[in-house]
């Protein structure tokens, strides 16, 4: 292949930009972002928090689930500028310490509730908020499956994820 003369290539788009300030996993962040940048892309590519995954970009699969001001949300349906001033929590902010897993993470591991792992951060964010929003969570089969029904998994068949929800509850209640 003959080598062509290298062109001068732009480093970033000419999109209009705006400065946003927000808190991500407890850390204050101020960045200038393209006004159409999705929150998921902001977290992943601007902040390097690549644990938030993008599986469909239309709000169905749940891989991009994060918490915005305490509410579970799809970061693929949210613009970064909409998160200005918000408190965001991502999968990277779930474990209490680098060498300790959150009980939900631990339960997913113990119960073989993940295979390829692509949907897993989204599931874990949903399950963590299920426990945070319900002091006495309903651990019946239908209730758990209902709580999980905002996230798609193509590998596990969900059965072990259901099991992991119960196991996480045991771990959090000190019944380990």
């Amino acid at each position: 292949m003959t080598r062509s003369i290298r062109k001068v290539l732009a480093k970033e788009s000419s999109d209009p930009r705006r400065e946003i300030s927000l808190s991500v996993n407890g850390e204050a962040v101020t960045r200038s972002v393209s006004t159409r940048l999705l929150l998921a892309d902001f977290l992943r590519h601007e902040l390097g928090l690549t644990g938030t995954h993008v599986g469909c970009e239309h709000g169905v699969c749940g891989c991009c689930t994060v918490s915005i001001d305490g509410a579970t949300a799809r970061s693929c349906l949210t613009l970064a500028v909409q998160a200005d001033g918000a408190e965001i929590r991502t999968i990277e902010g779930v474990a209490p310490a680098p060498d300790i897993l959150h009980p939900v993470q631990q339960a997913f591991h113990e119960c073989h509730a993940l295979q390829c792992g692509f949907c897993t951060p989204g599931f874990i964010m949903s399950v963590v908020s299920y426990f945070e929003e319900n002091e006495n969570p309903d651990l019946g089969e239908d209730a758990i499956r209902d709580a999980l029904s905002g996230n798609l998994c193509r590998c596990t068949g969900y059965q072990n994820i259901v099991k992991a929800v119960r196991r996480a509850h045991e771990l959090m209640s000190g019944e380990a």
Binding site: M1, R6, K7, L9, A10, K11, E12, S13, S14, D15, R44, G48, L49, T50, G51, T52, H53, V54, G55, C56, E57, H58, V60, C63, T90, I91, E92, V94, A95, Q105, Q106, H109, E110, H112, L114, Q115, C116, G117, F118, C119, T120, P121, I124, E141, I144, R145, L148, S149, G150, N151, C153, R154, C155, T156, G157, Y158, Q159, N160, I161, V162
Partner: protein
């Protein structure tokens, strides 16, 4: 003796990073200055391209380049036909970018490379393509008629391949038949829909002339070979690695998708890293799909239900192109007799072009269709003869004493004769019926009917040829510093847990903790002999290669440790990362020490290394440090090549409740008896089965790729393509049977695809059983939708 790790429910080694969101999928890899690709795709199923105008797009801010086929040089080609076959007389493969015409909605017409995906997507809308739409035929049966519109102008009847295989004397069997059952069944198109869409990134290094490619492929070694030959590079200068991959299910085994060639090409041309991260819509319209087949099957039987012969003629939809050859149809045709003896078989297929995205294997690969056809036929045969459907199966199952059971005349997808190697088919059937309580069920069904509820028992038996060749290999090394064991193999993982089961196999031979075995796979920079992950073959083919290699390294360790401990080799025990003399655990050396001592050194870089330097007492002072033919360190390479596929099997049964008013169905119980030979890790086996069943439930009831009559996909998104959530998938009760395969040292068979195979039959037979008192008509088509149930109950078709 320490507990063997083989067979243990070892927790996965890969999880710790994945649950923290620290996996590294392709779009997670930081590539400074990366450019992003988006494609202009055809909006027509068939059309001539009259002109393409890229000027406006090229002038946009942030656009680095726009390519059409005219800008590709040597890459403006028909992509490789991967698996040629004599029956494939009219092979057509896709081009990286369309040239003069398009063959399906979604085909790549032009490629934009820009600073980010947002800008690239803006630019594709500025590319002006003038099309002249052509006539199309989407219906498979109409497509093979003489006057049907053609997908490829020079392929009459749209038939790419036609193939017949015969076992015994089927004509004689049909002449002798006391009863003939005829059935026509259809399975519709679905898609793998891995949660991570396909993705590829490439970086060209101007200084070294090396091309680094990150590709979510199931076949990196093959991609490397293809890239090197098509781009005209030395193989050594191309490294292809599949990092963490978010599911594959067959869709990612095809090479080449247009982006797999064009992204490396653009990276070389533009001198910046380039990436293409497929979005969900593109995955629906640009990445391969599978399943549509129409079978017309006949069984010749005695009045007692013994099947004497089988004839099957089927149409296989291959989409617009057939780069993967006849593999799917061949698997379906050779699996058509299922678990039954059937001594006389005639099976024919035509692979038919349709103006739709191409068809290549998706988990199951022809097996779900074959299973649906034979199992519906067995139910119908029993019905027509007034016999119990389970008893008819029992009379025809391959008996324990029949193994190995060969079907002379059938050549399987590995090019080798078809032989069911081992199994206990009758026992599997008995187990599932006993577990579901078939005797008590009749009374439950009656009682439910009295309350106006309709429950039915569905059952499907499947077989699966797994562990196909040609071969895989393995390299194992014990690291002299840490004593950790490094294992490499050429195929790839998309979440199956290879790193854990391969570590278990290795740990057993080398006496180390599973966590001290580090498995690296799918990286041509590390190990580049091998094929790919497909056909439920990783545990069988790579697993046995690793086992054989570990045995070799074990011998090396025993020999070296015996020398160090001045003991007989037979007395050395390997346990807990140490070698010691049997009964004298204090006389021990660590594997790191053994590895270090096996490597003559000049420099003492740590304590252990001192014993191996040139003035140390243990050093050989009488001649060369390494004897003739010796190699330093503890390492070996070996390969496993199966004699032919090993056949796994199983039976699924379910209790299904149907609401005839709403035509809705609910799985009350779902039971799976399966046999994949010796299980390396039952927890992971169960994970494969449960995931397979979920995918099967999708294909049985929810998931159908829909095209309108002009060939436009109507549900190319997750809102309209109904993938089951947790609320739709039943819990699966799994019962294991373990009949070792006699074909390989570990006695294992594959299990990756098993779960999905019989689910269509389980659902449909259960619904038929439930609604029998309402006089439901034949159910011979999946996915079985509420509307189809409504029509089978005599309802008017809703047009």
């Amino acid at each position: 003796m320490a507990t063997a790790m083989f067979g243990e429910r070892v927790q996965r080694l890969a999880d710790a990073k994945l649950v923290r969101g620290e996996g590294r999928y392709i779009d997670d890899i930081p590539l400074e200055g990366a450019l992003h690709v988006a494609f202009v795709r055809s909006p027509f199923a068939r059309a001539k391209i009259l002109s393409i105008d890229c000027d406006a797009a090229r002038e946009m801010d942030g656009v680095a380049a726009v390519y059409t086929c005219d800008d590709l040089g040597r890459l403006d080609l028909e992509m490789p036909l991967l698996i040629p076959h004599p029956s494939l007389t009219e092979p057509r493969t896709q081009r990286p970018l369309a040239k003069g015409e398009v063959f399906h909605v979604g085909q790549t017409v032009a490629m934009v490379v820009a600073v980010d995906r947002y800008t690239a997507e803006d630019a594709i809308r500025m590319v002006d393509v003038d099309y002249e739409p052509l006539e199309v035929e989407l219906d498979l049966e109409a497509a093979i008629k003489v006057d049907a519109p053609r997908v490829h102008a020079d392929v009459a009847n749209n038939v790419a391949a036609q193939f017949v295989q015969t076992v015994g004397d089927p004509d004689d069997a049909f002449a002798r038949a006391e009863h003939i059952t005829k059935i026509k069944v259809q399975v519709d198109r679905s898609t793998a829909a891995p949660l991570e869409c396909r993705a590829i990134a490439a970086r060209w290094d101007d200084i070294t002339g090396e091309l680094m490619v990150w590709d979510g492929t199931q076949a990196p070694i093959s991609v490397r070979g293809g890239l090197a030959s098509i781009l005209g590079l030395d193989e050594d200068k191309v490294r292809v690695t599949a990092p963490d991959v978010g599911g594959g299910f067959g869709q990612k085994v095809l090479l080449f998708y247009p982006d797999e060639l064009l992204v490396p090409f653009a990276a070389m041309q533009l001198g910046r890293p380039v990436k293409y991260i497929e979005d969900r819509n593109e995955n629906f319209i640009g990445s391969s799909q599978e399943r549509t087949q129409i079978h017309e099957l006949e069984l010749a039987a005695t009045k007692d239900g013994e099947v004497l012969g089988l004839r099957d003629s089927f149409l296989h939809d291959t989409g617009a192109f057939i780069p993967y050859g006849i593999a799917i149809a061949q698997v379906a045709s050779t699996s058509i007799a299922g678990p039954y003896r059937v001594p006389n078989i005639w099976v024919e297929f035509k692979a038919v072009y349709t103006p739709t995205v191409l068809v290549t294997p998706y988990r199951g690969c022809g097996r779900p269709q074959a299973c649906f056809a034979i199992e519906r036929a067995m139910d119908k045969l029993a019905d027509e003869l007034g016999l119990d459907r389970f008893e008819v199966r029992r009379r025809n199952l391959i008996r324990d004493e029949d193994f190995p059971y060969r079907r002379d005349g059938l050549v399987f997808a590995d090019g080798l004769p078809l032989e069911h190697d081992s199994g206990q088919y009758g026992k599997a059937l008995d187990m599932v019926l006993e577990h579901i309580g078939v005797d008590a069920f009749a009374a439950e069904q009656e009682a439910a009917r009295a309350e106006g509820r309709y429950i039915g028992l569905g059952l499907g038996f499947y077989v699966e040829g797994t562990g196909l060749g040609p071969y895989e290999g393995s390299h194992i090394r014990i690291h002299p510093i840490t004593g950790k064991v490094y294992v490499n193999t050429g195929l790839t993982c998309q979440g199956q847990g290879h790193e854990t089961v391969f570590a278990q196999i290795t740990a057993d031979q080398l006496g180390v903790a599973v966590g001290d075995v580090i498995v690296v796979e799918g990286d041509t920079g590390v190990f580049d002999w091998g094929v790919a992950t497909f056909a439920s073959r990783a545990a069988v083919v790579s697993g046995n290669a690793i086992h054989k290699t570990a045995l070799k390294v074990r011998e090396q360790v025993l020999e070296a440790a015996a020398n160090m401990l001045e003991a007989a080799k037979e007395d050395i025990v390997l346990e807990d990362g140490k070698a010691f003399v049997n009964g004298v655990p204090d006389m021990a050396v660590t594997l790191a020490e053994v590895a270090t001592a096996s490597n003559p050194l000049r420099y003492a870089f740590n304590e252990a290394a001192k014993t191996s330097t040139q003035f140390a007492p243990a050093f050989n002072h009488d001649g060369p440090a390494l004897g003739e033919g010796d190699a330093p360190g503890l390492e070996a390479t070996d390969y496993y090549s199966p004699p032919h596929a090993t056949w796994a099997y199983g039976v699924h049964a379910a209790i299904i409740e149907v609401d005839p008013g709403l035509c809705s169905v609910k799985f009350k119980r779902y039971i799976c008896v399966h046999d994949c030979g010796r299980m390396i890790n039952p927890t992971l086996v169960e994970g494969q089965i449960m995931g397979g069943v979920a995918q099967g439930v999708g294909g049985a009831h929810y998931e159908r790729i829909e095209y309108d009559e002009d060939g436009n996909p109507r549900n190319a998104n997750f809102m309209d393509f109904l993938m089951p959530y947790a609320s739709e998938v039943p819990p699966v009760e799994i019962l294991h049977l373990e009949t070792p395969s006699p074909l390989n040292p570990l006695g294992v068979k594959g299990v990756g695809e098993a779960g999905c195979i019989p689910v269509g039959q389980v659902l449909v037979s259960g619904v038929a059983d439930a609604l029998k008192p309402l006089g439901i008509g034949p159910l011979e088509h999946v996915p079985l939708t509420p509307d189809m149930i409504f029509q089978a109950l005599g309802g008017e078709k809703d047009e």
